[in-house]
Symmetry: C2
Subunit: 328 residues, 2 copies
């Protein structure tokens, strides 16, 4: 199966390296970063292009644009892992549309297009007889979408509860363990590389809310948006609040919840018993699905990372390979 | 898709009720309990047969044997949920062979055949172009096999660690929480219906070891048996041992482990940090898969129960329906 890979940041490099290293029947025939592109229907020399990127800052020909690769390369599936823009969804949404218009499968880790144009893009994929898969958009390496599709097939999903932001979980872990203030724990998270210079996207719950939107629309076929989420972050939490929770054998975690029967779509700090499956330390992500037959199923794993996210993308690609015999 | 259901204990009743209640395109055309059988190519009246079973102790015609249903009924997939015999695997192994010989798909919750004749049965299914699926054999409702097949496709599984016996986890939870002796906690587990009159199959680690054998053979294509598992139960654990672990912020859990690089295939009580994802209270089951790309993925859920196990069986049936267009 031939792959066009758009984006060579941390996730894109992980995908390229894993495809080059593993013998999975996948060949990269198109590649683009923000400054250049490369195409070869027989397969690109990935190690050479990655070295080029490292040395010069761009992987290929600066005269070849990303859109030219998407519309011109010979491929079966587009892997779209360019930077996320949560406000406009662009340019990723345009990239995905262009590939679907060519009747190419699309696999993406990009939350922007999925949270802003889910219904439109899914309809376009369906109409053109191709797959649009996005396992990597929610909770990194955790195979949530595959679990919904296959593992829990036949189940009605009644509710979901998730720890979908590793930065917040790290900060809350450290506040509880060491009695740190929010500001101290945030500083530590920055030093560890877990928080951005502007952490508001994480600590105000927006990142978790966007993932909640993607999950809810996937599970219940709705068309909810970020504005529909009742969203409270962790930036106003005090060490006192955590101490009070600890006194009761509990702690506080930022929980994303969707409970249709109660009309709840919410991200907020919740008091939660310490031995609950959604309580764990550090930057992990987790999701509990409440279902009619299997009852509660919880999945825990890495929510970010280059190779971890590549795992989710390869899972989607291999599913397409098996399902469609690798043909777009 | 037409289903022949063998076994009407707790799991069988759950499967029958869920198929009757949910509109999944599944029709039960053959049914057998230990004393009787029923067949109708147009579909059996399941509520009537279950009521019959409740009133008279047998569901159908006492002159119709289980093997006659398996060899005579018109069906696409056999659901084999008769009682497990961990020593001989019979009569379940014979039932499965008979269905595979007719080129029928088989879905089973029966650990006996899978732990004793895995290679032979899988080869027979493969040769006859049908599926043999067994999600329900390990950890009840947790979709482990689907996760290995799809969610973690492309990953190399490096090791697995599981809490695969809910009875032991309950006993250890109660010993740690209340300082009970093993005997006291076992008595409580019996009163709650979590332990059998003869608990040795659970507390000596045999049940967990059989599940470990099924997982290891599935993941690594090996042909290991129960005798290959280094197996220690929880029946000699003292409250003192648990207290010492608690003093260090740890607790003790019965962990099933397979680590090929270290030649470890073991079930034993392990000291484990309390905030580890595999530490939770009560009768839940869990499994951590250590992989090359996704790193550690942990799944937690119900390890037993009528409807919970039916969830795993329906997941397998729906996979066959989609993969083979419902035809055997």
């Amino acid at each position: 199966m031939k792959i066009a890979l758009i984006g060579l940041g941390s996730v894109g490099r992980g995908v390229a390296e894993m495809i080059a290293r593993k013998d999975l029947g996948l060949t990269i025939t198109g590649l683009a970063d923000s400054k250049s592109g490369a195409m070869d229907p027989k397969g690109l020399d990935i190690p050479a292009l990655l070295l080029n990127k490292k040395k010069t800052g761009s992987c290929g020909d600066p005269k070849l644009s990303t859109m030219e690769v998407i519309t011109g390369a010979d491929y079966d599936a587009l892997v779209e892992v360019s930077p996320t823009n949560a406000i406009t969804g662009e340019p990723a949404t345009g990239y995905i549309r262009a590939a679907l218009a060519r009747k190419k499968h699309v696999v993406t880790s990009n939350k922007g297009p999925l949270s802003l144009a889910y219904k439109e893009l899914m309809a376009m994929a369906h109409k053109n007889g191709v797959a649009l898969r996005y396992e990597a958009t929610v909770a990194g390496a955790i195979p949530i979408m595959h679990t919904l599709e296959h593992g829990l097939a036949g189940n009605e999903i009644l509710a979901l509860y998730g720890v979908l932001n590793g930065t917040c979980n790290y900060i809350l872990t450290r506040m509880a363990a060491e009695g740190l203030t929010y500001e101290q724990a945030l500083m530590e998270a920055r030093e560890m590389g877990y928080a951005e210079a502007d952490p508001s996207y994480d600590v105000k719950g927006i990142d978790a809310a966007i993932k909640l939107v993607i999950l809810a629309n996937t599970i219940w076929g709705t068309d909810v948006r970020l504005k529909d989420v009742d969203c409270t972050g962790i930036d106003l939490l005090t060490p006192d609040a955590l101490r009070l929770a600890e006194d009761e054998g509990c702690t506080i975690r930022l929980i994303a919840e969707a409970i249709p029967r109660k009309h709840i779509l919410r991200v907020s700090p919740r008091i939660i018993e310490k031995n609950h499956p959604l309580v764990f330390d550090g930057t992990l992500n987790a999701l509990t699905l409440e279902t009619d037959m299997a009852k509660e199923i919880t999945l825990i794993g890495r929510g970010a990372g280059s190779i971890e996210t590549a795992s989710a993308i390869l899972g989607d690609l291999l599913y397409i390979r098996d399902r469609y015999d690798g043909r777009a």
